[in-house]
Symmetry: C2
Subunit: 418 residues, 2 copies
């Protein structure tokens, strides 16, 4: 029996640990000199330079010949010009896939998270307001794969390897990338992407879409001075899902179903996990059936094509029925926030998804309710600034986290050696 792995603690682990630290520093700053890396890492110049040489060799860093030409902020004029290094952002790429119910988007980004290209397809649907008749699992698989390949073809990767891919799906995802098979919707939303896409990138992970939004919001600007380590990212549209970021850590649970909102069935004044868009339409149609007061703007609309934005517009125009719907939705949202704030002790609930654009008044009003609340655990409520890209931004971030985490085990583009 031969020794397969090197002993766990050979001296190289030190070199490795130092390389890791320097690379992490490179990742969070722009071009840097050895002296700066020394300050950041606490290492000696010899060590830093040795490590940087290694990293350049491996392709993670570029050496930027001239020190003074690039002239950073600090007036740097005296002495021997320093060698400068920078993360080689194009050493590799990652792919983010937002595989939503209605469309699949694939985005390619470099190591700094800059988008290099993307591709997108609508999922063919029969009825616009129903999710039930979506394309089947096999069609989704085909579309997902082709969209990923289109996105890669659409950008000039310069032959950079695809080190990681993260796929966001509207379903709980367990540690193996699978979703519960006992739910047809979840099974359809995640039709075995992990296996399907395994060969498309070095590391392939599937992740719940709301969890990715939570990751995306990790870097969002902080309201006041204090840091926000605990928050809930709520993805609200036709349905409700949430990602729980607590103590700077994503809470997943056994099957990855933490943050699922079905528990709202048991919450007074809520009663279901339906999303605000769905309810706005439904309640509007209900009101139309029961008869509207004359002159209501809602009366102009066709119940079959009515959208949630129509309700928002009617409310803004002063329609009392639409206004009542907005109020009810706001109270609903506020109550959900109270429950989450209480059980999880989060500072903030961040709403993303279609609701942000189509029903902003609901968020504003719910935030006002929470501000007025005497409950000391009431969290702040804010709308995400990331728009439709929230899932994609989170997926890029997550894929990059994976790459950063294992960078030294992965081989980026082999450097052209003279």
């Amino acid at each position: 029996m031969e020794k397969t792995t090197a002993a766990a603690s050979s001296p190289q682990v030190l070199r490795r640990a130092n390389a890791r630290r320097v690379l992490e520093y490179a990742w969070r700053t722009g071009p840097f000199t050895a002296s700066e890396a020394m300050d950041a890492s606490g290492l000696t110049r010899s060590t830093v330079i040795g490590v940087c040489d290694d990293l350049v060799q491996q392709g993670w860093l570029d050496e930027l010949g001239d020190a003074r030409a690039a002239g950073a902020a600090g007036a740097y004029t005296k002495g021997r010009p320093a060698r400068r290094y920078a993360l080689r952002a194009r050493a590799a790429v990652v792919v983010a896939v937002d595989a939503g119910a209605e469309r699949i988007t694939a985005t390619v980004a470099d190591l700094r998270g800059h988008v290099l290209g993307s591709a997108s397809v609508e999922i063919p649907v029969k009825s616009p307001h129903r999710v039930e008749r979506r394309a089947d699992a096999e069609a989704r698989r085909r579309l997902a794969r082709s969209t990923v390949r289109d996105a890669l073809a659409a950008c000039d990767g310069g032959g950079a390897p695809v080190l990681a891919m993260t796929v966001g799906v509207p379903a709980p995802v367990d540690a193996d990338g699978g979703s519960p098979a006992d739910d047809w919707f979840w099974a359809l939303m995640n039709p075995g992407y992990a296996e399907l896409l395994a060969d498309e990138a070095g590391i392939v992970t599937i992740e719940n879409d709301a969890n990715l939004v939570a990751i995306a919001e990790r870097r969002s600007p902080l309201g006041s001075g204090r840091t926000v380590d605990s928050y809930v990212a709520m993805l609200a549209g036709e349905g409700l899902g949430s990602g729980l970021m607590i103590d700077r850590r994503l809470v997943r649970g056994r099957r990855g179903a933490a943050g699922e909102m079905r528990f709202l069935d048991h919450v007074e004044g809520v009663g279901s996990a339906d999303g605000f868009a769905l309810l706005a339409r439904q309640w509007a149609v209900d009101a139309m059936r029961e008869g509207l007061p004359s002159g209501s703007p809602l009366d102009q609309l066709d119940p079959r094509t009515l959208g949630e934005a129509d309700v928002a517009r009617a409310a803004a125009a002063g329609d009392p029925v639409a206004g009542g719907i907005i109020d009810r939705l706001a109270e609903r949202l506020a109550r959900i926030c109270l429950v989450l704030g209480d059980l999880l002790d989060v500072d903030r609930v961040i709403v993303a998804g279609a609701t942000v654009a189509s029903l902003p008044a609901v968020i504003d009003r719910a935030a006002a309710i929470l501000d007025a609340s005497d409950d000391p655990t009431a969290p702040d409520l804010v709308a995400s600034a990331l728009g439709r890209d929230a899932v994609t931004v989170g997926a890029i971030e997550h894929a990059l986290d994976l790459v950063r985490d294992r960078a030294l085990d992965l081989v980026p583009a082999a450097r052209d050696v003279a």
Copy 2:
């Protein structure tokens, strides 16, 4: 300006890391030989022996002269007898304090968690069923400190230093060991223990009692073969509190208030965070006021001194009113479990506290309801086997975790050197 700390990555970090690994191994096994440590750590014999010598020198390990005499399970007869080492359990002690509403218990344990001694005091109360008239904060502080000192005096520590102390309190605890000042009960339950006890041990931490139960249950026997990484420890008595262990990690939240149960105010069919003991008494008194069917065992009791165990006994004796109360409590518990299972995706809810002993039928019946539920996220429900010591066991474990984590930075008893 002189250099105060050694550079972050001096060669010694390797030695340190290896020492850490060997010490961790020593902690989770009994006496061991160098060869066993080599297998466990992947290190060379020279390294292991070198590290063990260091650890013996520092007082963390004892060298157990004879290898064969102790004769472990494996028939070990051939070859040169191996040197044996073992964790020196008496090198230091930790103190666990269960500072509950009604009594304060301090327990001293060695590095293996074996109890060496303890002390306990009842908190003077005026009315047995009310928490409001407890001794004030200053009295609690005095009692806590004297109980800790009594416990230390009660055991023969052999001069071992007190490396860590964990205090469990029925209140949320933030990272600094403080509890929300805006709640009189919480402020009373944690009247500045962190500062008060700071000098009694090397590391002093305050922790929520339910969180400590969650830690205590980390090692509890697993129901089936699968591992349970996500569960809720519910401390149920007069009130309800819970510790959230999700993905093998305690979820605390910003102020340490994650797991607080006030959100139950918003849950249908629950409506408050009152504990089962409190409700059992209250509902029984209500029923007595409304008039009981003749011959009910409940009728024998004085409403002013009635205890929850009386209700349990009456129900066991077939009293329909008491049985109804047990059923209502079971439904309540089951519903709480469903909500927790759904939002947090936990495998299991473990009930500890007075309810386990006094109202076992509630837990059994709720477990049956959950088993019969068609909700796939319904968690298992079990009663804790730790009894009244759950908080203490968790506090010992937590204190030991802290010691294990920083062992090499701490100095245990200086070894007697010849």
